[in-house]
Symmetry: C2
Subunit: 191 residues, 2 copies
């Protein structure tokens, strides 16, 4: 008879529950029930609820990394890659249940653990954008600059345009955003 991989069951159950109810509203009893496992068993694999949550966030980060890396094209130039990566991230955020739930929990309740987790996710996105930018600098496509600040600014600008702008204005189309990115960050405003 097959030995049941309890750790896997727990992780799956936790992922499901965090996606459905968020961090705070997920209880360890619930996860145990969902995983068909005794509550104590969870604690043989994860020291705390937060550690279990971190495991789930790690796979989220890995998923995003996969999404981003499959969008990248090393032969394409930087604007193309930045655009692809950012729009993939955006699509991901809009469609991925766990992400949606956590963004909501962060905004509405400000749960500390969730804020920190989202911070970690953002940092990891910045890390891969940093690599893209470094490559572009090496190739001589763009000026020498701090790749991390640059990645940070790009991400913030992108999210401002897709999230904040439409609070007071009709949303920008995808191509408009690319055009704005090109104008502001790459070509520059100066004549």
């Amino acid at each position: 008879m097959a030995v049941i991989d309890r750790k896997k069951l727990i992780i799956e159950a936790a992922a499901k529950s965090f996606s459905l109810y968020g961090y705070k509203a997920t209880t360890m009893d619930q996860v145990a029930k969902l995983a068909n496992v005794g509550k104590g068993t969870i604690y043989t694999f994860f020291k705390t609820k937060e550690e279990l949550f971190d495991e789930i966030i790690n796979s989220l980060i890995a998923d995003i990394r996969f999404e981003v890396e499959s969008a990248m094209d090393d032969s394409a130039w930087i604007l193309e890659n930045v655009d692809r990566v950012l729009s993939r991230v955006h699509e991901f955020r809009k469609s991925h249940q766990l992400t949606i739930k956590l963004i909501q929990e962060e905004r509405d309740m400000g749960t500390q653990t969730v804020v920190e987790a989202m911070q970690r996710v953002e940092q990891s996105i910045i890390q891969y954008m940093k690599a893209i930018i470094q490559k572009a600098i090496d190739k001589g496509e763009i000026k020498t600059c701090d790749p991390e600040v640059t990645a940070f600014v790009m991400l913030k600008m992108y999210f401002s345009l897709v999230n904040d702008w439409q609070r007071n204005h009709p949303p920008l189309k995808k191509e408009e955003i690319v055009t704005l990115f090109e104008l502001y960050l790459l070509k520059g405003l100066l004549n």
Copy 2:
């Protein structure tokens, strides 16, 4: 005997109290006491607490406008002006008690009235930045672009750099911020 300008007293007291305690923690009794005025008197000038608050926010907006406009030099070119305006706004935000308190209240408690007020302040800053940008376009200093989106992006980028960046990194110096601004938005990253 001099007739006391009670409206003025009320406004001064309110400004002081909102600066000291924020919106929620300021009570109408308190304002009345501070202004040496009966509570009912406040209501002969302002229909509600929110209306009183709006009055204070209006002067805040006017103060910022004055600060920005006195920093501007129409004969200077845009890089110079961007530098001056940003530095002034930066100093203002750091030193102006009311602004500090309201930013804090918005972040920590999310008071609806405060969120809306800050939104209004932001919108008004964007409006005069828009005018500045339009002027630069007319003078041919910068490329043709939508002045409002441009103002919006500039402001968001500025706030990202001064507020969000230092959550994970040592804060950027004023001159660094100006340099980054010039690099990203004006000169552009392209080689």
